[in-house]
């Protein structure tokens, strides 16, 4: 069975500080990986997707970047946090060549002060 792990569970960070969030998927070879952002009480907005190691596509510009250093790992980062970055960050995966059937991780709650 596939498992998806996100770290950390929650972060409280200062405006202007750097950020790195991680996601690991186990039990699935060469998945498509996605990052989503969700405001409190809001909808899900796709930020990035990756279909293979080393390749990441940006969907929206939010002063964030993403990387895929390994087949099972997806990293979301920024050098300078903004207040507007607060929210719930979700990693998701889908089987290769099946982009729409996405399964989400437990999420990371980010609070920027």
């Amino acid at each position: 069975a596939q498992t998806i792990h996100q770290w950390p569970v929650a972060e409280i960070k200062a405006v202007g500080s750097p950020l790195s969030l991680g996601c690991t998927i186990k039990g699935k070879s060469s998945p498509n990986l996605y990052w989503y952002w969700q405001a409190t009480g809001g909808t899900l907005q796709q930020l990035f997707y990756s279909i293979t190691v080393g390749q990441v596509e940006s969907v929206v510009q939010l002063n964030l970047s993403a990387s895929r250093p390994k087949d099972d790992q997806f990293i979301l980062s920024t050098e300078k946090l903004l207040l507007s970055h607060s929210g719930f960050y979700l990693c998701a995966w889908s089987p290769r060549d099946i982009y729409a059937e996405q399964f989400f991780g437990p999420g990371t709650r980010l609070t920027v002060l």
Binding site: L44, L90, A100, E101, F103
Partner: protein
Amino acid sequence: QQQVRQSPQSLTVWEGETAILNCSYEDSTFNYFPWYQQFPGEGPALLISIRSVSDKKEDGRFTIFFNKREKKLSLHITDSQPGDSATYFCAASDNVLYFGSGTKLTVEP
């Protein structure tokens, strides 16, 4: 332009009643429609989905009704339970997945 719309924003039903959650979409090329259930503080979980070639999909107490001509679909939850209280997201896709704004369902005992 919002690709997927959901209504109502919030819904309260009594235990045992049927909850009906509505969804509509803009793009006629969308061909896959999943519904996700999200509890507070958790990631969304895929609940049930339908492809545009079908007009109905049933899984236990959860049923999707799909009207391709009107670009509308609905999720029916029969015999609602307090444990069904959650936010439900409708989504639509050709390849990119677009989410609606969600319906917060409360089931009162």
